[in-house]
């Protein structure tokens, strides 16, 4: 029987070798391209004929716009507005990756640490650069906690720096672990459907099948929730960088 982890295997579709580096177009890359194309198609097509009273598709597109706009306003304030394209793209990319990954025989690229870590490192480096550009060297006062006696500073500053450096790690692990755990669980219960059904003329398979229906519904929730969490944390980090404490 197929291993429940087989779904995470990366296959090369178009082999590309440049200077000894393996830059092949894989199934992971294929689904990233798919997610981006579907997202662009969704937004472009639903806003093709914008009406004052939106139709269903336009309402969906406006809903996603407003969702992120509100998130930025609540978490960052007005200065956050100029970063809307970045945060909206992040949210839509992760959301479509998560949701398209739920289609049978597709590939969930957000279940790979390499992908989520790249996203998280991009976010943290970008946020740090924004902070340094905005505040100059004063940005590093971020690592000096307020109201701490001077004697404690040699201990507290390393702790703050490590805490800061752990942000991309916790950001990427949270997304990747949630997606991977959920998809593995679905496959494990799906294999129970087969093995229990085989020994009991199909009757025993019904219970894990019902469980799987519930799990798939739960996974849709997780797909939204994890995209939301990733974006909200990006907003909070951006808020820290813009406002320093």
């Amino acid at each position: 029987m197929a291993s429940p982890l087989e779904q995470f295997e990366i296959h090369t579709i178009i082999p590309i070798q440049i200077g000894g580096a393996d830059l092949s177009f894989t199934n992971s890359a294929l689904w990233m391209v798919t997610a981006t194309s579907v997202a662009i198609a969704f937004l472009a097509l639903s806003m093709r004929r914008p009406a004052l009273i939106p139709g269903r598709w336009q309402a969906l597109a406006e809903l996603s716009y407003e969702f992120i706009a509100n998130m930025i306003r609540d978490n960052i304030g007005d200065e956050g507005r100029q970063y809307f394209p970045l945060i909206f793209s992040l949210f839509i990319f992760i959301l479509f990756g998560n949701l398209l990954g739920l289609i049978p025989f597709s590939f969930t690229f957000t279940s790979h640490l390499a992908v989520t870590a790249a996203l998280a490192i991009f976010v943290i480096v970008g946020v740090t650069m924004i902070g340094i550009v905005k505040h100059g060297l004063h940005y590093f006062s971020f690592f000096v906690p307020q109201g701490v006696p001077a004697v404690m500073l040699p201990l507290m500053i390393p702790i703050e720096i490590i805490s800061y450096l752990s942000r991309p790690l916790s950001l990427s692990i949270r997304l990747f672990a949630n997606m991977m755990a959920g998809h593995t669980m679905i496959k494990v219960f799906a294999s129970f459907v087969f093995s229990l059904g085989a020994v009991s003329f199909g009757i025993g398979g019904l219970a894990p099948l019902a469980m799987n229906v519930a799990l798939v519904g739960f996974e849709v929730l997780v797909a939204f929730l994890q995209a939301y969490v990733f974006t909200v944390l990006t907003c909070l980090y951006l808020n820290d960088a813009l406002h320093l404490h």
């Binding site: 906690p145 307020q146 109201g147």
Partner: protein
């Protein structure tokens, strides 16, 4: 005339949309404050482990680079654990599960300062010891 009708209808619709949105926002806020047990546990666990991993990783790299085998590893393991606990405290504080910063400040004010040393002045000026709104 027709136009005015439409605009009054629109403003009515606007009003209804606003109340509906307000109701929805209130619901969302309530949900935010009662996070699921497992997701909260997972979040805290990731925060704790991430800081520890970063600390140990930096320690190992520094040791390999400087050839000071266990010392940076030991030191940064301890600092990483501290950072992990700070992370967890902040996660909990952002969900309102710890003493709020205003309570902490009030307590600071209530306890009389022993002397006006520079350290204490700094303490009262800069309120809460740990930023609450930081995940």
């Amino acid at each position: 005339m027709n136009e005015r009708d439409t605009s009054s209808q629109l403003s009515k619709l606007d009003e209804r949309l606003r109340t509906a949105r307000h109701a929805r926002n209130v619901g969302e806020e309530n949900r935010e404050k009662n996070p699921g047990g497992i997701s909260f546990a997972f979040r805290v666990g990731v925060e704790l482990v991430a800081a520890l991993v970063v600390g140990v990783g930096i320690g190992l790299l520094l040791d390999r680079w400087l050839g000071t085998e266990p010392w940076f590893l030991i030191g940064l393991f301890v600092i990483g654990s501290g950072a992990g606990i700070v992370n967890v405290y902040r996660t909990a504080a952002s969900l309102g599960l710890t003493m709020s910063s205003s309570e902490a400040t009030n307590k600071d004010v209530e306890t009389p300062e022993p002397e006006g040393s520079t350290m204490n002045v700094e303490n009262t000026a800069k309120t809460a010891p740990i930023r609450p709104n930081n995940t």
